[in-house]
Amino acid sequence: MPHEPGLRESVDARWPAGFLLALPSLAVFVGVGFIPLALIATWSFWSFDPDTYWIKPAWSFASYAALFENGRATVFLRTAGLAALTATASTLLAVPAAGLIGLLSGPRRAALLLALFTIPFFTSGLVRAFAWRLVLGRQGIINNALMSLGIVVTPVEWLLFSDFAVLLGMVAAYLPFAIVPIVLAFARIEHSVIRASQDLGAGFWTVFATIVLPLVLPGIVAGFLFVFVVAVGTSMEIQLLGGAGASSISIMINDVLRVVNFPLAFAIATVVITLLTVLIIIANRALRLSRLFESLGI
């Protein structure tokens, strides 16, 4: 093929500087994100060979059919329900906390308060979850206090190894995920908007209901989704704080992997990832959640 003059220019136009600059992060995204996920999705359609305990490239939907067997669907629903409950509780706590940080504090105090909320992340999640046993157990701080105060005679049993304990542990662990996007949403509210609303006759609660709440709604939804996504994937709190029969999707995947049924494990993972992705895309379309992070420059 003859060399065409101006070919370099056309190449430059097709690969603009922006693309070249994005190349490293794109490589990371494809290398450690997209390729493994694609493999998981592909292998979930292969067949499990019980004789060799290995997978073979014979396309089948058997793994997906198995999702509805042995009460697996119930585990899906239970996990989603627990995650939704965790996300709801976290969001309810995060709104006033974020309001305090993002709206009422000056920049210095806001940074300090935000840092305080992230301190729990300095220790391992395992340690934090375990610490709740010392608080909630039969001989734990709460039961000891209640008994020495004479409020109860025998230890309160439902505090530990119960859904309550799991919920408490998860909310404590994932609250910061809800706070950060809501703080960003609060910080985006211009002061003059609130002033204008007061000026036009609105008292505190009217300002909150008609101006502040609608403007932070994208942050609230983003915070809810962040916690929900993390809570769906966790197993630690359930294993350490949950009751005897408690299960979750990640525990189920673990169990399936123990019998090396890779296609089934991958099928579960693929369904979870697909559902979460769809959820996030819908929420983003509806509320333009990605705008929240513009102020961070990401």
Binding site: R195, S197, Q198, D199, L200, A202
Partner: protein, 362 residues
């Protein structure tokens, strides 16, 4: 006795680390347009925020139609503010923005719709009801803010730098708009600005503020033609200021001596024993004298000239070392003096003003 002023400030002071507003008393009569004019940091925004209820004065009272409302929060005051950055609600349509105050007051939906439609017609925004704020131009946003405040028929409308940050064309258009609304609705308006053109063209009365104190209160004509002191003079465009060696009082005219020349001046309107007099001239009324003409002042050495479009700015120095900047016409027929040349100048028929030299911070 006349009815009490729509707003009166009674010896209002606001102190942060140091006083920002010191012992200010002023009145805005019903139906008038009053402008507080001052450079940034003069405390004019603080005054507006205290009237709006967003700041509490350290001392003094704020009265609306004779009633003391100093302690009331913003939502209980009979005034509305147009903030410099407007504060329009981004999650509402134009109509919802305008109807907001009515809704908060519990006005029924039918009346709300009627008032909103009328007000949008007044600010020439019919058909924009369902638009979002981000779909509007800067001028349209300003008009939404005006409509949103005016629909409540406030006793006083407060304008914070209403035309700042707009381009020249929009500025002129809005200036006309505000003036028209003021006349049509008979609204009482208090504006703050640092722009003297804005203040001169819009207001019935101008209050010149400097470092939290009132320097002069007067009609635009009074402030422009008879500034109280050199600070006010410089603020309204008397940029050519000379220090006389001696001032002699007379019966009709006073005489001042500058660089050995005797200059006939207007007698001073205000006297201030704390300050010496300075001689104040409008730079655009000065021209270079013909060789045969009797000059008012000279000789001056031309230091530099700068083309400014309509005018040429001439920077010159008197024999006693004082600098004088003035403007000559940039018409091709008018000769621009060469740097280093010696000139004489004429300002007839204008007579220089003698004003207290209050340029130094008090």
């Amino acid at each position: 006795m006349s009815s009490p002023a729509a707003i009166a400030l009674d010896r209002v002071t606001k102190v942060y680390d140091k006083p920002v507003v010191s012992d200010i008393s002023l009145e805005v009569p019903e139906g008038s347009f009053v402008t507080v004019l001052g450079p940034s940091g003069s405390g004019k925004s603080t005054i507006l925020q205290m009237i709006g209820g967003f700041l509490q004065p350290t001392a003094g009272r704020i009265l609306f139609a004779g009633t003391d409302m100093t302690a009331l929060p913003p939502n209980k005051r009979p005034c509305n503010t147009i903030f410099q950055d407007l504060g329009l609600f981004p999650h509402m349509t134009v109509a919802e923005n305008v109807a907001y105050g009515l809704k908060v007051r519990g006005v029924d939906p039918a009346t709300r719709r009627k008032c909103t439609t009328e007000m949008l017609a007044i600010v020439a925004l019919e058909g924009y009801e369902r638009r979002r704020i981000h779909q509007l131009s800067g001028g349209q946003r300003q008009r939404v803010a005006l409509a949103r405040a005016l629909v409540l028929d406030p006793a006083v409308l407060l304008l914070d730098e209403p035309l700042t940050g707009l381009d020249e064309r929009l500025r002129q258009q809005l200036r006309g708009e505000i003036s028209r609304l003021h006349r049509r609705l008979g609204a009482t308006i208090l504006a703050v600005t640092h722009n003297q053109d804005e203040a001169l063209s819009l207001s019935d009365r101008i209050i010149v503020l400097r470092a939290g104190r009132i320097e002069q209160i007067g009609t635009p004509r009074e402030v422009f033609e008879r500034p109280a002191n050199a600070f006010v003079a410089r603020f309204v465009g008397f940029d050519a200021i000379l220090k006389p060696e001696r001032v002699d009082s007379g019966i009709a005219d006073w005489h001042a001596r500058v660089a050995g020349r005797d200059i006939r001046c207007e007698p001073p309107v205000s006297r201030d024993p704390a300050h010496d007099y300075v001689l104040v001239l409008r730079p655009e009324r000065i021209r270079i004298a013909d060789p045969k003409e009797r000059s008012d002042l000279g000789p001056l050495t031309v230091i530099s000239t700068a083309y400014k479009g309509r005018d040429v700015e001439v920077e010159s120095r008197l024999v006693d070392g004082q600098a004088l900047k003035f403007l000559i016409s940039a018409d091709p027929g008018v000769a621009v003096p060469a740097s280093g040349s010696s000139i004489e100048i004429v300002w007839e028929p204008m007579k220089p003003l003698l004003l207290p030299d209050a340029l130094v911070e008090p």
